[in-house]
């Protein structure tokens, strides 16, 4: 490694509050940084590396990908912004946070996209590539100057950076190097260890030619030097190295690692955004441990293939997103009817129909619980953190095989591409299923000998002598014979339903974040966990009596929820799926459509639980949640108060 870099990084470590040239670093508790470019200019890579470096230094981080919907959107377009958003903090970070503090933009159009989306703080620092000011095309020059001047006038702190010019002194095609120049500059701004950045370059380009690695290191150093010499500010965000090993991955990688750790052998899938990256990664690693990723001809066959594998004794998983989930419903119904264990992962995106493929939404909960025709009870879980993405798959496989049920795991586009460190998992053999049962079935045993209390029955697996029977999607009796008698049908519907209750009896009440009593309880599920809890913490610090509860199991709902809700004057859910707005002219209590979990809780507990939701395709920000909670606390809603009386009475 380059000696000078080593030297400098040692200095940087020794004196984190001062830059090498002696600039006084402003100490921060956290900052949100964005790097955005046209697609293909490497801003993603720059952002991921920045996140990894900060995590290595012991900072809390949460990275979020900024993804355009198209593979190659037109260059210099507001909708084409591609990049990464990194929230770096002194303490553990649980979500993407609010608006951006500092942005590096490779052109003014992608920047405009972010401004229009209101993603930048009012006084945000902007580091803007200035090559457009002297571009040959007068229209581009005019657009650049206009945007630049407007941003300055709007109060943004705009620094024009000659990235192209500086990079051209090192590489011929600056498009292929600007990102590392930017990384070097950001390392200077945030006083990050340049040696760790070099490690990231080796990791990213190590497989390529040595000259590629060298060129990128040069670009990194150049960016770092340029920042040092030309920028009049720098920051330090104090970090604490973790005492236990942490891993930094995104939600989809965590899902794939979970599949690997769960002992499942077969993943059947069909390409779909934003789920596919989990299958990409699994395709890479699964065969090393004897697993197979099968890319089926369509979503239906992917699910049917997984059902077949599960039926044959190897619980399988199928990974998809909303549109694929719709298509899988018939095979899911078959698995429910045949009582075949199956894990279905739905990395939700905006819907309905093709919707917003790259955007975050929690719109599929009802489809997961009530999907498939007839009464088709299945288990629905939702990871709330990257770490839970990993463990939820292991749990899902276990539940699926213990109860012979379909388990749906609802992740979403927010978790899929976000990175967050969590303690490194220590593998346990208990995560894996025992080998396929091939023991003989005793004479007289029936393939569906349902237990009258729990609805559970032992499953006969092909290969077990004496267990021969034909599994059928038709209503069937204990012998798996087609039931022509409606009474048998009702009995078996009852047994399949009882299994959910049996599972529910094993669940614990969800923990309450904050005090068990107070003025307002916010209930959430899935990827909003970090943002809700951060907002609750901030509100509590201001003296508000608010708490939150996050549901991991949506079907069955765990016990104890009613008792928890009774500790609060008001209860509301915050979700990223549609709910009608009470302020709309024709919306009232007789027609308002509530958010998914609000509907579930209202129907189960007969309590007037309010909800607030947005479907803007972005993770809900903690600041937004605070505003919502403040409003709810102040709300003197007579109807709401009256409808809350059942809660108060029981208290």
């Amino acid at each position: 490694m380059n000696e000078m870099i080593m030297q400098r990084s040692v200095e940087a470590l020794d004196n984190r509050t001062r830059s090498p040239a002696g600039k006084a670093a402003v100490k921060l508790t956290e900052h949100i940084v964005e790097i955005i470019s046209d697609s293909g200019e490497g801003a993603q890579k720059c952002g991921q590396s920045l996140g990894a470096i900060a995590a290595q230094m012991g900072n809390g981080i949460w990275t979020t990908e900024i993804i355009p919907a198209e593979i190659r959107p037109p260059a210099r377009s507001a909708a084409g912004a591609s990049g990464n958003r990194i929230r770096i903090g002194s303490r553990y970070i649980t979500n993407g946070g609010d608006e951006t503090d500092l942005v590096v933009a490779f052109n003014e159009q992608v920047l405009l996209g972010r401004v229009q989306a209101k993603e930048l703080k009012p006084n945000c620092t902007i580091l803007l590539e200035n090559m457009w000011r002297t571009h040959a095309d007068p229209e581009i020059v005019a657009s650049y100057i206009k945007t630049h001047d407007r941003l300055v006038a709007a109060g943004y702190k705009v620094y024009e950076i000659p990235m192209e010019q500086e990079c051209r002194t090192i590489v011929a095609d600056a498009r292929r190097g600007k990102n590392m120049f930017a990384l070097g500059m950001l390392c200077n701004i945030y006083n990050l260890d340049l040696k760790l950045a070099v490690d990231q370059i080796v990791l990213a380009f190590g497989k390529k030619d040595r000259s590629v690695v060298d060129a990128n290191i040069k670009l990194l150093e150049a960016g770092n030097r340029w920042g040092e010499a030309n920028l009049d500010f720098c920051y330090s965000i104090p970090a604490t190295r973790p005492t236990e090993p942490q891993i930094v991955v995104n939600g989809n990688t965590a899902l794939a690692l979970g599949v690997m750790a769960s002992g499942m052998e077969i993943c059947a899938m069909y390409p779909i955004t934003p789920a596919t990256s989990a299958s990409h990664y699994l395709s890479e690693i699964f065969e090393n441990v004897g697993g197979i990723v099968h890319q089926a001809e369509d979503e239906i066959s992917a699910c049917a293939f997984a059902v077949g594998a599960s039926y044959a004794g190897k619980c399988a998983v199928t990974i998809t997103s909303g549109p694929g989930f719709s298509l899988k419903q018939e095979a899911i119904g078959l698995a429910v009817m045949g009582e075949i264990p199956l894990v279905v992962v739905n990395v939700q995106r905006g819907g309905p129909s093709t919707g917003q493929p790259t955007k975050m939404e929690q719109g599929d909960l009802m489809a997961a619980i009530f999907g498939s025709h007839g009464d088709a009870p299945k288990v629905v879980m939702a990871p709330g953190t990257i770490e839970e993405c990993f463990y939820s798959i292991i749990t899902a496989r276990k539940i699926a095989e213990t109860f012979n049920m379909v388990v749906v795991v609802l992740s979403d586009a927010g978790l899929a591409t976000s990175q967050q460190p969590f303690p490194r998992p220590k593998f346990s053999e208990t995560w894996m299923a025992p080998p396929v049962d091939q023991s003989p079935i005793s004479e007289g045993a029936k393939p569906y000998d349902w237990d009258d209390t729990t609805g559970l029955a032992r499953r006969f697996i092909p290969g077990q002598p004496g267990g021969m029977h034909t599994l059928t999607g038709l209503a069937h009796d204990r012998l798996s014979h087609v039931a022509y008698d409606a009474e048998i049908n009702e009995e078996t519907v009852r047994f399949r339903s009882l299994k959910l209750a049996a599972l529910q009896k094993t669940l614990k009440a969800p923990p309450v974040f904050g005090d068990p009593k107070g003025d307002l309880l916010v209930i959430g599920w899935g990827s909003t966990k970090g943002a809700i809890e951060e907002a609750v913490e901030a509100m509590r610090a201001e003296g508000h009596k608010v708490s939150s509860m996050h549901l991991q199991f949506l079907q069955p709902l765990p016990p104890g929820i009613k008792e928890i809700m009774q500790g609060f004057k008001k209860v509301m859910t915050i979700e990223s799926n549609w709910s009608d707005r009470p302020e709309d002219k024709i919306i009232d209590e007789t027609n308002r459509r509530y958010s998914s979990v609000a509907i579930l809780l209202r129907s189960r507990y007969l309590v007037d639980i309010d909800c607030w939701s947005e479907v803007k395709g972005q993770p809900i920000k903690p600041g937004t949640i605070r505003r919502v909670m403040n409003k709810k606390l102040k709300q003197q809603d007579a109807v709401s108060e009256r409808l809350h009386q059942p809660l108060a009475r029981e208290r």
């Binding site: 891993i247 441990v289 197979i292 049917a304 004794g313 023991s439 021969m468």
Partner: protein, 346 residues
């Protein structure tokens, strides 16, 4: 007698006997030497109509299982929905009576998870050639070691007489009261047109001896064996095949030393015979395209097409130790270590 959790089954290829290796007692090999009778494969009384071609296919399948000594617990019949898809209920093997059109992907999942199982598929002309068409095409492409019976009676039976893709043009049905509008789809030419096709045969239910020979050849082929069985529906299209049944010369039997060898009895009745080498795909396509005669034959066979499950199975057993090692190697890539810690686990 196998021990739970200790049994590793080894599959030695279709047609050979399965062996079980019991790790609990070292490496003890147990050969199966039991005999099976037809009753060992018979379950219940078929509820098909009298004269339904499904009965002939059932008889052929049960005879095949007995003759080959297939262990009932190691044999799975997978079906979709329709009259023909009731088939598994009448076999005393494992069976999977699934959903309409999806028999093939279910069977593929079974075979991929458990290559040690012998897998058959029963599918009808609606199931395979209409609602499940995508799976049909791709099943041929995957070429997994599965034997597929297409029970083609050219009509929807269970839903009571609607035109199917293989219904001849002009046929009156409940959905085509003025006669069906479209030319029938030819399942043989479609199948023979797919890259990776490895076995295509056609049988008719009214020549049971040849039906059995074809079913047997299909079973012995390693790869996806696609057998279209032209079968009568006495309820909805009782006279559909009369021209062929009444004139044996309209049925063309193809023989070859690598294909069917016809008995003297069959040859006495069916004199319209032709030599056809099943390795000749161009000729197979030509014969399959004929309109006047029904070819009964092994149209095409290529034993050298790789099976998808063989391509995909690495031969690695998914043990906890292997999983631990694999997981740790991956986690090492993403780990942030505490200061001074060893930077690697795997």
């Amino acid at each position: 007698m196998l021990f739970r959790n200790d049994c590793i089954s080894l599959w030695l290829g279709k047609g050979e006997k399965a062996m079980n290796m019991m790790s609990a007692t070292g490496c003890l090999l147990q050969m199966y030497e039991e005999h099976f009778e037809l009753e060992d494969y018979q379950s219940g009384v078929p509820r098909w109509c009298t004269g339904c071609g499904d009965n002939a296919i059932l008889a052929a399948a049960q005879r095949l299982c007995r003759d080959e000594g297939l262990r009932p617990e190691k044999t799975v019949f997978v079906s979709g929905i329709g009259c023909s898809s009731r088939f598994p209920h009448y076999m005393k093997t494992y069976g999977f009576h699934g959903i309409h059109g999806r028999a093939l992907p279910v069977a593929e999942g079974v075979k991929m998870a458990r290559p040690d199982l012998t897998v058959f598929v029963n599918t009808g002309d609606g199931d395979c050639c209409s609602i499940g068409t995508a799976h049909w095409i791709h099943a041929i492409r995957y070429n997994m070691n599965i034997t597929v019976f297409l029970h083609d009676n050219q009509i929807y039976g269970l839903t009571k007489k609607q035109a199917s893709p293989t219904t001849p043009i002009g046929t009156k049905s409940n959905t085509t009261p003025r006669g069906s509008y479209l030319e029938a789809l030819n399942p043989l030419t479609v199948t023979l047109g797919v890259q990776n096709v490895s076995f295509v045969a056609q049988a008719v239910d009214w020549i049971p001896e040849v039906l059995f020979d074809i079913v047997k050849a299909a079973y012995h082929h390693k790869g996806l064996s696609f057998v279209r069985i032209v079968q009568r529906c006495p309820e909805w299209l009782p006279t559909a095949f009369d021209p062929w049944m009444h004139d044996p010369n309209k049925v063309q039997l193809l023989n070859h030393e690598d294909g069917l060898q016809l008995s003297a009895g069959v040859s006495r009745i069916y004199k319209n015979q032709l030599q056809h080498d099943p390795s000749n795909i161009d000729r197979a396509r030509e014969i399959a395209s004929g309109r006047d005669t029904i070819p009964v034959a092994i149209l095409y066979r290529n034993p050298n097409v790789p099976c998808y499950e063989d391509l995909r199975h690495s031969g690695i057993l998914r043990t906890p130790d292997l999983t631990r090692a694999g997981l740790d190697a991956e986690l090492d890539k993403y780990t942030v270590w505490p200061e001074g810690a060893e930077q690697k686990v795997a």
